[in-house]
């Protein structure tokens, strides 16, 4: 069982060497190449996926930041608008009040002036009227002196009024 057969050893070596050469060319090289390229591809794909995930996370963080900023800005704008509107309202109301007061004053002044004018006119008209009345009464009987006295009296009374 343990006797060595040199011919068989040589056949084994020849067969093995040929097998290594043939398989090396037609089997191992392509199989290992295919394996390696696939492994490379998988590694690349995993790396890419990882990068994509990181990108997505970064973008999400950015988006969140932008959204926060935008909502802050909106709140600020709303608050600003509100204060401005308030101020504007106050201004308008104040101006309106002022102009109303002005108009009232003017109207009062006008009224006072009109009243004065009316009084003056009334006064002259009353004087003329009283003169006419007096003339009619005194036309016949009163002399000049009496007439004058009466006129003065009337005038005095008018002035009192």
């Amino acid at each position: 069982m343990l006797d060595i057969n040199p011919g068989l050893i040589i056949w084994t070596i020849i067969t093995f060497v040929l097998l290594v050469v043939v398989l090396g060319k037609f089997a191992w090289t392509p199989i290992l190449q295919a394996l390696q390229s696939r492994e490379q591809e998988i590694a690349d794909a995993l790396k890419k996926a990882d990068e994509a995930k990181k990108d997505a996370e970064r973008m999400m963080a950015e988006n969140k930041l932008a959204m926060d900023k935008a909502s802050n800005e909106t709140a600020r704008l709303i608050a600003e608008g509100r204060t401005m509107a308030e101020q504007l309202k106050n201004d308008i109301v104040a101006k309106a009040n002022e102009s109303a007061k002005k108009m009232l004053d003017q109207a009062k002044e006008e009224i006072a002036r009109e009243k004065e004018a009316a009084m003056a006119q009334l006064r002259t008209e009353v004087a003329e009227l009283s003169i006419t009345v007096a003339e009619k009464i005194l036309d016949e009987s009163l002399d000049g002196a009496k007439q004058k006295k009466m006129v003065d009296k009337v005038l005095q009374q008018l002035q009192k009024n």
Partner: protein, 309 residues
């Protein structure tokens, strides 16, 4: 005289078919040649011996003393280079490997995702690369990957061929394993010299001791170089032969007891051993490859040689 029993058994039991046939053969053969007085065990052993007869299904040699096809004799360089049964199985294994693996290679290059056989082969290729070569030899060992892969697959297929009916394990022949060990020896020395340079390689043989001790040290180191492949050779041969002998012995029990009642027990046990052999076929291919890779890796370590022995 037991042939009919065994032949009917062989139809039922795949595992035993091969063996049963052999038993019938050897029994008849021994009966013809030695008049039946030969020890049963020695008769059984003829089955695992190399021979110039190739047993084939449905083939009957016109010469009744010869069982199987007679293979041609060949003498080259004053040496017996005859084609024997084991040479045939050596070549059969090589042809099977070349055909299947080149097919697989072509398919795997086309398909991005390998399926079926391509996937199976790739599992072993990846295993040899990532679990054997890289841990033992580092990245520098990858250039020896084709050698180690061939080693693994060749031994595996030769082992498995012994498990099919009419098959024989070429690795159950010590000459074949010696041939593989010679190549392993050459590869171990070659990779060491290539990695360390011839000077370092030779310096390594002195074991780093004082020169006065060299006459003792150098023979020991040189002997050490040979024991590794020698162990590889014997381990593979013994493991492959052992399983076959156990199966043959179990079947042989039927003849020892000369009773059919033993047959179910024998065959059940033989089937169990057959399963074990199936495992051993893979295991030994792995061990041979792993140890070769380990020895190569040890020789390739450039940093750990010199003065630490």
């Amino acid at each position: 005289m037991f042939s009919w029993i065994l032949l009917s058994d062989s139809k039922v039991q795949h595992a035993a078919a091969d063996t049963a046939h052999a038993v019938a053969d050897t029994a008849a053969h021994a009966g013809a040649a030695h008049g039946g007085d030969e020890n049963l065990f020695t008769q059984l052993l003829h089955h695992i011996y190399d021979s110039n007869l190739l047993e084939l299904p449905f083939y009957h040699n016109p010469d009744p003393s010869k069982h199987g096809l007679e293979l041609p004799q060949l003498n080259l360089f004053g040496m017996d280079m005859s084609m024997t049964k084991h040479v045939v199985f050596l070549w059969l294994a090589a042809v099977i490997l070349i055909v299947t693996l080149s097919l697989v290679a072509r398919r795997n290059q086309k398909n991005k995702v390998p399926k079926g056989l391509g996937n199976l082969v790739e599992v072993f290729v990846v295993f040899v690369r990532d679990e054997i070569v890289v841990p033992n030899m580092g990245k520098g060992g990858l250039k020896y990957l084709p050698y180690l892969l061939t080693n693994f697959f060749f031994i595996l297929v030769m082992n498995l061929l012994g498990l099919i009916p009419y098959g024989a394990s070429a690795t159950g022949n010590v000459s074949v394993t010696a041939g593989l060990a010679v190549i392993a020896f050459i590869m171990i020395q070659f990779s060491a010299i290539r990695a360390q340079g011839l000077g370092h390689y030779l310096a390594h043989l002195t074991g780093g001791v004082h020169w006065a001790l060299w006459p003792i040290m150098i023979p020991i180191e040189v002997l050490g170089l040979f024991t590794k492949p020698f162990a590889l050779c014997i381990r593979l041969f013994a493991n492959m032969t052992g399983g076959h002998i156990v199966i043959l012995a179990l079947i042989g029990l039927i003849f020892v007891f000369k009773s059919l009642m033993v047959a179910p027990v024998s065959i059940a046990f033989a089937l169990g051993i057959y399963m074990l052999e199936l495992f051993v076929a893979f295991l030994q291919a792995y061990i041979f490859t792993m140890l070769t890779s380990l020895f190569m890796g040890l020789g390739m370590q450039t940093e750990s040689h010199g003065h630490e022995h």
